[in-house]
Amino acid sequence: MNTIHVNINNIEIPTTADKTILDVCREHKIDIPTMCHLKGLSDVGACRLCIVEIEGMNKLQSACTTKVADHMIIQTNTDRIKKYRRITTELFFAERNHVCSVCVANGKCELQNLGYQVEMDHVRYPFLFPQCEVDTSHPWYVMDHNRCIMCTRCVRVCQEVEGAHNWDVMNRGHAVRIISDFNTPWGESTTCTSCGKCLHACPTGAIWPKAIVQGQLEKKPEIIEELIEKRKMHDGF
């Protein structure tokens, strides 16, 4: 593929047109916070954290779903972007019931880290305190909707990597929830293979294995990409 040139934060970078802005930034260690993106899964551009400014475009674009083009001039960390990232982060926290101090993911949570990263010292929006269920019906895992940020990484990993498609999203607006099967308790799902991939894909403490306590959660989101790579390897035989 032909080499093209993009300019990111005033640095000229040679690359190819099949990549997204996020790909290029990650390759060159340019930091862009993301939440719904997980390497190996399709991108949906849902969380809006990876927004960047592209010269000649008024609207901010999501880096994970926008492909690079020749002579594109991109800014990833302007005051405008920082302002919106902070707002988005605060809205995540205001939307459900996140209590880090008692969470299994405390200290290892992507949402918590994001809060530090954007220097969120308080939330300017009223907390919604929605009534959320905690589904403990599965013999090994728990799904706590209080901590879900609707990134749909679990939905995509289940559909695209495991191929089970246990998860999906019901309703809309504030009423959206992750569901298994026909809004069936997880333990009664007929499609779940109990593989545990969703647990590793989830950025927060929303999905976790039973029998662990506060701060003990160990997630390996990178195994998703490794799995895909290994499969490709076997396909070659």
Binding site: Q159, H165, N166, W167, D168, V169, M170, N171, R172, I179, S180, D181, F182, N183, T184, T190, T191
Partner: protein, 162 residues
């Protein structure tokens, strides 16, 4: 849960012929759901299970689709339906008070149906009769300029409770 449909139920035949007509194509899901809702009045889970199997779609994808569109209903709609418009004009003219009054009198919130299946309450965004705001559609009949106190009486009359 019993997720199988009776093969002698004529409604099952109607659905299976619709599925056949659509050649069991996954992208006919919404069409098939429309048909099913017309037949049953709502979408019972065993019917969704049947459709999901026939179209080779994951159950959660079918449920996601049903719950996304307000047109589809997972609960029986009730013998009498009362649809309160909450579009901008009706909202300003007091749709909320109407809903509160209905809740007071019938103990039903939007989306709920009474235990005896007599009355179902729904809301919709703008039914296109803003000049008559606030508007309620009672059993497919548009009622305009509603005064909530009098209206619950009208509802009772319609339902044969008075």
């Amino acid at each position: 849960m019993n997720n199988t449909l009776s093969t002698t139920d004529p409604r099952t035949k109607l659905i299976s012929s619709k599925l056949k007509k659509e050649a069991y194509k996954a992208d006919a899901l919404i069409e098939v759901l429309h048909t099913a809702q017309n037949i049953y009045g709502y979408l019972p889970i065993p019917v969704l299970a049947y459709i999901s199997k026939s179209l080779h779609l994951p159950p959660s994808r079918v449920y996601a689709t049903v719950s996304f569109y307000h047109f589809f209903s997972l609960k029986p709609k009730g013998e009498h339906t009362c649809l309160v418009c909450t579009g901008t004009a009706c909202y300003v003219k007091g749709a909320q008070q109407i809903l509160e009054k209905i809740e007071q009198v019938f103990h039903l919130k939007p989306g709920e149906t009474s235990k005896d299946n007599k009355l179902g309450i729904q809301v919709a965004r703008c039914v296109g009769a803003c000049g008559l705001a606030p508007v309620v559609v009672l059993d497919d009949e548009v009622q305009g300029n509603i005064v909530s106190e009098e209206f619950t009486q009208t509802m009772k009359e319609k339902m044969g409770l008075l």
